[in-house]
C-alpha cells in the first residue's frame, strides 16, 4: 500500500523450510516447502543433465533420465497417495538440480514395482533406488534408523539384532519335532528357510510354528538351519547395502553347500526374491519356493477338521506378486479352507497396494512419517476394512506386525491380521484361536 505518497514494495517470504512451534505443546515441527507453496522459492533457475549423468555412472541408475513425464507412475505410487512423491516428480527434481543422493526422497521408495509395471519408458526404480542409495551409503548419508538395521544385520546376521543362537527358539512351542540340520544331518526334501521375522518376532514365531505343524500333518520331510541360518538380506540390498547383501550371500551359500536338500521353502517373499533372482547371477542356483507355492498343490491332502466361517481379504506381497508373478498360490490356499469367504480389495494382484515394508521401508517408519500423512500400512488396512472382511490374510512376514499396528491406529481393531498358514493350521487342527 502506498503510505504518505511512498510506494512500498510487498515483502515476499521465500524459505525452503519453516519451523512452526505449537503454542500448546511447545513442540516444533518442520514444514517443508512442498506443504505450502508460498514458502517455496518460486522461480526455477536451471535445469541440467548433470544429475542424471551422476546417476547413470552408477550401475542401474541410468533409466531415471528416460522419463518423458506421462505421469502414469504417480497415481499407482503408494507413497504419493499419502505424501508428495513419485518417479515422475523425482525426474523433474533431479532435472532441476536436486541432488537425489542428499534428498529425503531417496529413502521413500518401497521398491514395490508398481511404477515399473505401468512405465512406458521402463524407468526402473528397482534398479535406480539401490544404485543411488548405495552411493549415499558409501558417502555415509543414511537415515539413522536404517543404519542401525544395517549394523545389526552385519553383527548378528538378522535385522532385529537378536541373538543368532536363539534363532530356532520358536521350535519349542511348535508342538511337533523340528529337525535342525546341524544336529541331525542327512538328506532332506524341504529346507525351511525361516528368515528373520518368523524366527524372532512373536507373531512371526506363531506362524513358523503353524507352518511346522502343517508340514508335519502333510508328511513333508523338512528341516531348518537353526542357528546357522542368516538373513538373505534382500531388503538391505534394495536399501543400498549391496556389499552387506553379497557378504551374507557368500555365508548363506557356504552354509547351504554343507547340506543335502532338494528345495528351499521360505515364507519371506524378500528372501525368496533374492534366492530366485540375485543368487543365480552369482552362480548360486537352488530350487526355491515360497511356502504358499509348496502348499497350494497339496490342498486336496489337507485334513481340515473345522470350518472357519470367516470373511477374509488378502493382501498381495509386492515381492511375491508383482516382483515374481505369484498371485494364485495364496488364493488357492485361502479358498481351500472350509468356511472362508474370500473378498478382494479394489487394489489386488497386479496393482496391489504396498504395505510400506519393502526396500528398507520396514526400518524407516520414523523417517518416512516426516513425509507422509499416514503409513502405507494404515492406508491399506482402511481398504481391507472397507471390504467388510474380519480377517486380513497375509503371507509375508513383514506384514503381520505392520498391519496389526495399523489396524489399531486406524480404529479397525475388529480386523484380525493372520498369516495364511495360521488359518490353515487352525482349520486343520479343528479349533481356533481367534
Amino acid at each position: 500500500m502506498p503510505v504518505g505518497g511512498r510506494k512500498q514494495a510487498p515483502v515476499v517470504i521465500e524459505e525452503e523450510m519453516a519451523v512452526v512451534a505449537s503454542t500448546i505443546s511447545g513442540r516444533t515441527s518442520e514444514l517443508p516447502a512442498m506443504w505450502n507453496r508460498m514458502l517455496e522459492p518460486r522461480v526455477l533457475r536451471d535445469y541440467g543433465s548433470g544429475g542424471f549423468a551422476r546417476l547413470a555412472a552408477l550401475q542401474g541408475g541410468e533409466s531415471l533420465e528416460w522419463c518423458y513425464g506421462c505421469g502414469k507412475c504417480v497415481p499407482v505410487c503408494p507413497v504419493d497417495l499419502v505424501g508428495e512423491y513419485g518417479p515422475r516428480k523425482l525426474h523433474r527434481k533431479v532435472q532441476s538440480g536436486v541432488d537425489l543422493l542428499a534428498d529425503d526422497d531417496l529413502w521413500l521408495c518401497t521398491t514395490c514395482m508398481n511404477c515399473l509395471r505401468v512405465c512406458p519408458k521402463q524407468v526402473d526404480m528397482i534398479k535406480v533406488m539401490p544404485a543411488a542409495r548405495g552411493a549415499a551409503v558409501g558417502a555415509g548419508e543414511v537415515p539413522t534408523e536404517l543404519q542401525d538395521v544395517f549394523e545389526k544385520t552385519f553383527r548378528y546376521g538378522n535385522c532385529l539384532g537378536e541373538n543368532p543362537r536363539r534363532r530356532h527358539a520358536w521350535t519349542r512351542g511348535a508342538g511337533v519335532p523340528v529337525r535342525v540340520l546341524a544336529d541331525q544331518p542327512g538328506p532332506v526334501d524341504v529346507l525351511f528357510y525361516v528368515e528373520d521375522y518368523w524366527s524372532y518376532h512373536p507373531r512371526g514365531q506363531q506362524a513358523a510354528q503353524a507352518f511346522a505343524r502343517v508340514l508335519t500333518a502333510l508328511g513333508v520331510d523338512f528341516a531348518i538351519l537353526g542357528a546357522e541360518e542368516k538373513t538373505v538380506g534382500d531388503s538391505q540390498r534394495l536399501a543400498g547395502e549391496a556389499g552387506l547383501f553379497e557378504a551374507l550371500m557368500e555365508d548363506v551359500a557356504a552354509t547351504l553347500g554343507r547340506y543335502d536338500f532338494r528345495r528351499i521353502v521360505t515364507p519371506d517373499p524378500h528372501g525368496f526374491n533374492a534366492l530366485v533372482k540375485e543368487y543365480p547371477k552369482h552362480g548360486h542356483r537352488y530350487d526355491v519356493l515360497h511356502y504358499t507355492q509348496l502348499l497350494a498343490p497339496l490342498v486336496e491332502q489337507m485334513p481340515f477338521a473345522a470350518s472357519l466361517e470367516r470373511t477374509v481379504t488378502f493382501h498381495d506381497p509386492c515381492y511375491l506378486g508383482r516382483h515374481n508373478g505369484e498371485y494364485d498360490a495364496p488364493r488357492t490356499l485361502l479358498e481351500a479352507i472350509p468356511g472362508i469367504r474370500l473378498v478382494e480389495m479394489g487394489r489386488c494382484r497386479e496393482n496391489g497396494y504396498c504395505c510400506g515394508g519393502g526396500g528398507g521401508g520396514m526400518w524407516l517408519d520414523g523417517f518416512t512419517s516426516n513425509h507422509t500423512a499416514e503409513r502405507l500400512s494404515e492406508r491399506r488396512v482402511r481398504e481391507a476394512a472397507e471390504t467388510g472382511a474380519d480377517i486380513l490374510a497375509v503371507c509375508c512376514p513383514y506384514e503381520v506386525s505392520r498391519f496389526e499396528d495399523a489396524a489399531k491406529s486406524t480404529g479397525n481393531d475388529h480386523l484380525q491380521v493372520r498369516d495364511i498358514v495360521e488359518l490353515l493350521d487352525e482349520a486343520m487342527r479343528g479349533h481356533g484361536e481367534g
Binding site: R37, E40, R42, V43, L44, R45, D46, Y47, G48, S49, F52, A53, E65, W66, Y68, G69, R88, R92, Q95, S96, K121
Partner: protein, 357 residues
Amino acid sequence: MTIANQAAPAVAVVGGGPAGLAAARTAADLGSPVVLIERLGFLGGMPIIENYAAITPHLEPAEVAMGRMITAVESHPLVEVVLDTEVTSCEGEAGAFTLTLEGGAGGSRKISAGAVVVATGFQHFDPGRETQMYGYYEFPDVIALQDLEAMLKDHHVVRPSNGESPARVCFVQCVGSRDRQIGNEYCSKVCCGIASKEAMEVRQMLPDCEVFIFYIDMRMYGYWENQIYWPAQEQYHVQYVKGVISEVLPKGDRLLVRGEDTTMGRPMEVLMDLVVLSVGMEPSPGTRKMASVLGIEQNKYGFVEAVQPPLDTVSTSRVGVFAAGAALGPADLEDSVSTGAAAASRAVALLRSPVGA
C-alpha cells in the same frame, strides 16, 4: 529434351522440391512425358534452399539425399526440366491445359499439358510475427531452426553475437503454430522432430553443450518417437522441459528465457547462450500464387485445399489439377514424396482413362 513433340499429353509439375521431384519421377516412370517447372535456378526445394544439414529421421546429409532425387529426374528421358521459370496462366481443361511460362532463356512461352501437379511447398514462419517477445530480429543469438541447420551444415555452431561456441542452447517449440492470434491454428507437425534432431546434432558437435527443449507437448508421431525423441533424451541427454517460453530477455551478454514449468507449477527463468525458435510452416508465396493462377481452392491458411479428404489427399477443386507436398499443408519429407507420387499417378491415370481418374 523437349517434350513438345511427344504424342502423349504431358504432366506439368510445378515446383522442384521433394514433392515435385517425386511427382516428376513417378509420372515419367509410368511412361508419361513430364515438364518440371521450377522458379529458381536449381532443383531440390527447401532442403537445398535453406541449407538443411541432415534430413530427419536418419540424418542423411540433405544434399546427398536430394541429389539422388535430382539426378533421377534430370537423367530421365521423359522429363524436361525448366528452371528460372514461373507459370503465369493456365487455360483449358483436364486433358488439354495450356500453361503460360515466364522467365528462363526462352522468355514467355506456352506449353500444353494434360494434367498439372502443384508442388510449390511452404515457407518457414517468420518469427518477427510472433506475439511473444522472442526478439528474433532484436537479439543475434535468437535464431530459427533453419538458421541452425545452416550452421550445422557448416559444422560451425556458434553464437552469432560473438562467434563463440554456446554452452547452453535451448529450443522453443510451437513458434508460429497452434496460435489463433497469429492465424496459424494448425500444428506444423515436423518441428518437434526437427528440433530434437538438431538437438542431437548439436550434442554430437559440441559434447559439452547442454541442450534444452521447452515444449507444450512433444508431437513425435509414428516412428519419430523412437527414432528421434527417445535417442535424443536417452543417448544424447537432451533435457526436455514441459512448459513453453513466453519471452526472451537480454541478461548481460546472455539470454534469459522465461516461461512456466507446467509440471512443477512454477515460473522458470533460465540463462541461455543460444535460443532456437522452432518455427512452423506457412504456405510459400509460390503456393499462394499458383493457387490463384490455377484457380484452385485454398483453405483459410492459404494452403491448397484437398477437396475430398481424408481418403483422397491430392485432388484439388479443379479437375486435372493435383497438389502434393507441403503445398497441401504441413508435411514432412515422407508425406511430401508420398503425396508427390500419389498426385503423379492420379494425373497419369486421368490422362489414360476414358472416364477420367
